[in-house]
């Protein structure tokens, strides 16, 4: 009946429905436009200028220069260093590795300087990748890998926890309240709790336990060793936000009609089969929304990086904070904001497409 109307065109009833929809949307748009419209437009505009935050300095329109600065990258080949006597490539006397020209001499300095990001070998040649804003490119890489790992783990864990809590057992009420604890702890404070547990001496819980288990000497600097720091951050975030995922998934589970399972039971479908044929497909819309908002927060992660890593490694948002509050480079900071915006948008669209959620 509804479908028919659509093809024929708007009936009186359809028009009324549309009017009602606009009225219902009005308060939301009114509120959001009042508070968010100006800041949003301001950020987009400022990203095209060289504005200094909290300064009376004149602001100039600079076009896409901030974006060039943030995203500018280059690849250069590092020529081998030749031993003048033998005509062969020099070898490092300690490591017996071939010596190449230092990257700092090869990377261009004019009109802007490129800093070394990393080197790699390919087909027997050695290359260096340089970036104008090395910290930003690193922050982007770190933030994206942080997002992928933490969101993935949170989704799996959250789904698991939601399924457990959704099954009937004694004490699920307590369980549901318990699983909310991490989410309820104030974000900055939870970062502090973990920082303390991850202390690099035996003051910290993890060093004490690992040492008791015979691992490490009780002096592991979790947050300062490259191989430990990212997993530590992911662990903190997973602990903190799995409840968010679990609760949203749980609400989604509860909306699946029981009758479907009863019917499947009659047909003799195993519970694993039920999960893949009923639960998962019907959960897709809730899952997509949960993923969108989780990813949105993960890409803007701030406290965890700021508290646990200080300024040794940045996330996009903490780099943004550093540029805005520390350096007062408001134009550049706004451009970083826009980059985050675009990333989030891309992820959101991706989820909706991948999970086949119909927005119409």
């Amino acid at each position: 009946m509804f479908k028919k109307r659509k093809t024929v065109g708007m009936t009186e009833l359809g028009k009324r429905e549309q009017r009602l929809a606009y009225w219902l949307l009005l308060p939301t748009f009114l509120i959001l436009f009042t508070i968010a419209f100006y800041p949003l437009v301001q950020v987009f505009y400022t990203s095209l200028t060289d504005k200094t935050f909290a300064s009376n300095q004149e602001t100039n329109f600079v076009g896409l220069q901030n974006y060039h600065h943030l995203l500018g990258m280059t690849i250069k080949e590092l020529p081998p260093v030749i031993d003048e006597d033998t005509g062969e490539q020099l070898l490092n006397p300690d490591t017996q590795k071939k010596v190449y020209e230092r990257a700092i001499r090869i990377l261009p300095r004019e009109p802007v300087r490129f800093r070394e990001l990393f080197q790699f070998g390919f087909l027997g040649r050695r290359y260096v990748v340089g970036a104008v804003d090395r910290e930003f490119i690193r922050a982007m890489g770190d933030t994206i890998s942080f997002t992928i790992f933490s969101v993935l783990l949170e989704t799996l864990l959250g789904l698991g926890i939601a399924l457990v809590v959704n099954s009937h057992f004694k004490g699920r009420g307590v369980m549901r309240a318990t699983m909310l604890v991490p989410w309820a702890v104030i974000t900055v404070v939870s970062a502090r709790i973990w920082e303390f547990m991850l202390s690099p001496t035996r003051v910290g819980f993890f060093n004490v336990v690992l040492q008791k288990l015979g691992l490490g000497d009780g002096q592991i600097a979790f947050l300062r060793l490259p191989e430990w720091s990212m997993p530590s951050l992911v662990a903190v975030d997973v602990w903190k936000t799995t409840p968010f995922m679990a609760l949203l998934i749980l609400a989604g589970l509860q909306l699946i009609p029981k009758s479907l399972y009863e019917a499947a039971e009659v047909d003799g479908a195993s519970s694993i089969r039920q999960f893949f044929t009923i639960t998962l497909p019907l959960l897709r819309p809730s899952l997509a929304v949960a993923l969108v908002f989780r990813t949105l927060d993960a890409l803007r992660v701030f406290d965890v990086f700021q508290v646990l890593l200080a300024q040794s490694r940045y996330s996009l948002a903490s780099y943004n904070y550093y540029q805005l509050i520390g350096n007062r480079a408001m134009g550049l900071a706004s451009a970083i904001g826009v980059v985050i915006f675009v990333l989030i948008f891309a992820f959101a669209m991706l989820y909706m497409k991948l999970l086949g959620v119909d927005t119409e």
Binding site: L24, L25, Q42, R300, F341
Partner: protein
């Protein structure tokens, strides 16, 4: 026969093991905060760290309530609790009411421009907080409203898109026949919305509300800025950030942990209370086919 029994029991054991692991994983860091909040500065620095507060010399169990005493004699903290409750409740209420209107339209009604509307709403919340802060501060100043309403309004930036999106997906999952049959009975779409659909989404409303409540409760940066010149309106996270030691640079870690414990427990109690609602919503939802 015997095998089946064994299978059943082992299944149960595995299940309870999983429950226990989840329980410990979720609670242990919080336990560590409780443990730390009962320690003095020197106990916090003991090597190796102790699982319950112990005297550094005799290693006997020895805990202190000083941290709790000092936060409860701190007016700013108590005030902060009150302010946070007001701001978070109002924010959640507003976001749920306004958001469910929009979500009903987006989830169940037919109109032009649905997808753009959804993404437009989402785009309001996609910048990092610090990026929009100065613009938002200008808006709040322009509107000339005081800190509490200023916070409630500005928290809409992150709570409203969230409630709209979550509720939209839930409205969408409700069977269309419900609406049609209500319309056949002569109900207007709006009546259908608040008499039939809204009660059915009660569990979703409660969940969304809780999550929104907590994000408002935990917000720090906006609150710090908007209450800067109105210290009486400060919320809990700001009050905690203003905890200080006796001298500059000293950080009262134990007190921060105590505050974390005190702030978290009411929220958990809140959840326990709302459980009934969730379950009630479920039974109501069971009617549908």
């Amino acid at each position: 026969m015997m095998n089946k029994q064994v299978f059943k029991i082992s299944k149960k054991v595995v299940f309870w093991c999983v429950v226990a692991i989840i329980f410990v994983y979720m609670l242990f860091p919080f336990y560590w905060a409780v443990n730390s909040s009962l320690k003095t500065e020197s106990q916090l620095q003991m090597t190796p760290a102790t699982f319950i507060p112990r005297n550094p010399h005799t290693l006997k169990v020895d805990f202190t309530l000083d941290n709790y005493r000092s936060i409860f004699t701190n007016d700013k903290f108590i005030h902060g609790l009150l302010n946070s409750t007001i701001v978070s409740t109002m924010t959640t209420g507003l976001a749920l009411v306004v958001g469910s209107f929009a979500a009903f339209a987006l989830g169940k009604l037919r109109f032009r421009g649905k997808t753009p509307s959804l993404y437009l709403i989402l785009s309001m919340t996609m910048f990092p907080q610090v990026t929009v802060l100065s613009g938002l501060y200008a808006v709040i100043n322009k509107l000339n409203i005081s800190a509490l309403p200023g916070m409630i309004l500005s928290y809409m930036i992150f709570t409203l898109p969230f409630t709209v999106w979550v509720l939209t997906s839930f409205f969408k999952s409700l069977p269309r026949e419900l609406m049609q049959s209500a319309q056949v009975d002569g109900a207007t779409p709006f009546q259908t919305f608040y008499k039939i659909l809204l009660p059915l989404t009660a569990p979703a409303l409660v969940t969304t509300g809780l999550l929104a409540f907590i994000s408002a409760w935990n917000e720090y940066l906006f609150s710090l800025t908007f209450t800067a010149i109105e210290p009486a309106s400060r919320t809990v996270p700001v009050a905690i950030a203003l905890f200080t030691g006796t001298v500059s640079r000293q950080e009262p870690f134990g007190e921060i942990m105590a505050a974390a414990v005190v702030v978290t427990i009411p929220l958990v109690v809140l959840v326990l209370i709302f459980q009934r609602k969730i379950i009630a919503g479920l039974t109501a939802g069971a009617v549908k086919g």
